[in-house]
Symmetry: C5
Subunit: 96 residues, 5 copies
C-alpha cells in the first residue's frame, strides 16, 4: 500500500453508474514523514477519511475488495487512516 495524503476532492456528474454515491478524494503519495511529492491521483474512500489525513491506498484489483468498491471500475481505494508511523526506531508521523 502507498502512504498518501488526502489533499482534495473531485466532483463528477458524468460517470459510470457504479460510481454513484462514492466519495472521490484527491491524494498524493508521501514519504514516511508525510511529505508529499509527485502527481496526485484519485481514490475512492472506504473509511471516512478527510482532507489532510495521512492514509494507506491499495491499487488494482485489491482496490475492489472493500464493500464500497466491489465489482466497480475503480483502481485505487483508501482502506486505512494512519494514526502513526515509526521508522528506524523513531516516530516519523503522528496524527494530530
Amino acid at each position: 500500500m502507498l502512504i498518501a495524503r488526502v489533499i482534495g476532492t473531485a466532483v463528477s456528474t458524468m460517470k459510470d453508474e457504479k460510481l454513484e454515491g462514492r466519495k472521490l478524494l484527491v491524494v498524493q503519495q508521501t514519504d514516511e514523514y508525510g511529505k508529499a511529492s509527485g502527481k496526485p491521483f484519485v481514490a475512492i474512500d472506504s473509511v471516512d477519511a478527510g482532507v489532510g489525513d495521512l492514509v494507506l491506498t491499495a491499487a488494482g484489483s485489491s482496490a475492489r475488495q472493500t464493500t464500497v468498491t466491489k465489482d466497480r471500475p475503480v483502481d485505487a481505494v483508501i482502506m486505512a487512516v494512519i494514526d502513526s508511523l515509526e521508522v528506524e526506531g523513531k516516530s516519523t508521523f503522528r496524527k494530530s
Copy 2:
C-alpha cells in the same frame, strides 16, 4: 484513478474482435490543474467523454468492470468526466 486529459483519437481496423465499436481515445495524465505531461496512452471511453475533457481513468482489471469493457482485452477505461477539482482548499479545475 489517474487524472487525465483527452487529447485525441485513435483509429484501428485490424484489432481484436471484442474491440469492435469501442471508442479509442488518446489521453495524457495531468496534475490537479489539468496540466498534462508524459507519454500519452489510449483508453476506452465508457462515459461519452470528448476531446478536451478532463477525466478519470482506471487501469488493469479494474478497467474491465464497465459494461462496455467487460471481458475485453483493454487495460484502461475512462469511467468519469471531471466537473471540478478542489485541492488544499482552492478550486484548481472547473469544467468550462
Copy 3:
C-alpha cells in the same frame, strides 16, 4: 493501452508449454508521433501485426482476454494495429 512500435522478434525454445505457437514480438513504447523510447518489452501478437507497425498493447490480466492468450502466462498482448492517430486536431500518425 500503450502506443508502441513493433521493432523485432524473439525466439525461445525452452518456454512454458502454453506459449507454444505464440508469436513473440519485441515492442517499444512511443509517443503520439510513433517516436519510440525506453526499454523494449515482449508482447504476444493476437492481430497479425508485423515489424514496423504501430500498435496498441494491453498489460496484466487484460492481456489474457484474447483467444490466443487466455489462461497463459503472458502479461502483454498486441490487440490492435493503429491506422491513424489524431491529437489536438492534427494528424500525428498515419499508417503508410
Copy 4:
C-alpha cells in the same frame, strides 16, 4: 517480487474491517546488497518478519494469495524473509 527491507511499523485504528489483526510493516525496496532507496510503502506481514529483515514482497492480486491476506483490500505482502543472496558468483547479502 521486490527485494525490500523492513524499516518500521504503521498503526491504524480507522481501517477496513478486513484488516483487523493484520501487521502493517513499512518497507523500502533495496538492491542485491540490501541497500534501500526510494519511497517506502506498507506491506502486510505473512511470515513473522521483523524490523531490519530483508524480505521479498509480492504486489497486486498476488498479494492476496496467502491465508492472512485472502480477499482483503491489500496490494503488498511480505511472503518470505531472505537468508542470503548470491549475485554474479558472490555473496551479496547474508542474514546476521
Copy 5:
C-alpha cells in the same frame, strides 16, 4: 513480458508454505542487447533457467498461470529462456 538476465539466486527459510520447493532467481531487466540496468528483482523459475540466461518474465496475475506458480503468492515468473532477439533487422542477442 520483460527481457531480463538471471544474475543470481535467493535463499529463504521463513516463507509462505506455498513457496516450498520453488526456485527463487534474482533477475535484472535488460535492453534488446542483454545489457542489464536498474534494481534487480526476484522471479520464480518455471522453465529450468540458469544464472547467466537471458529470459522473459511475466508479472502480476499472469505470473500465476504456470503449473509451478498457480494460486501462489508470487508476482513474477520466468516463463521462457530467450534463444535469440532480432531488432530492426539485426541480430542483437544470440544464446551462446
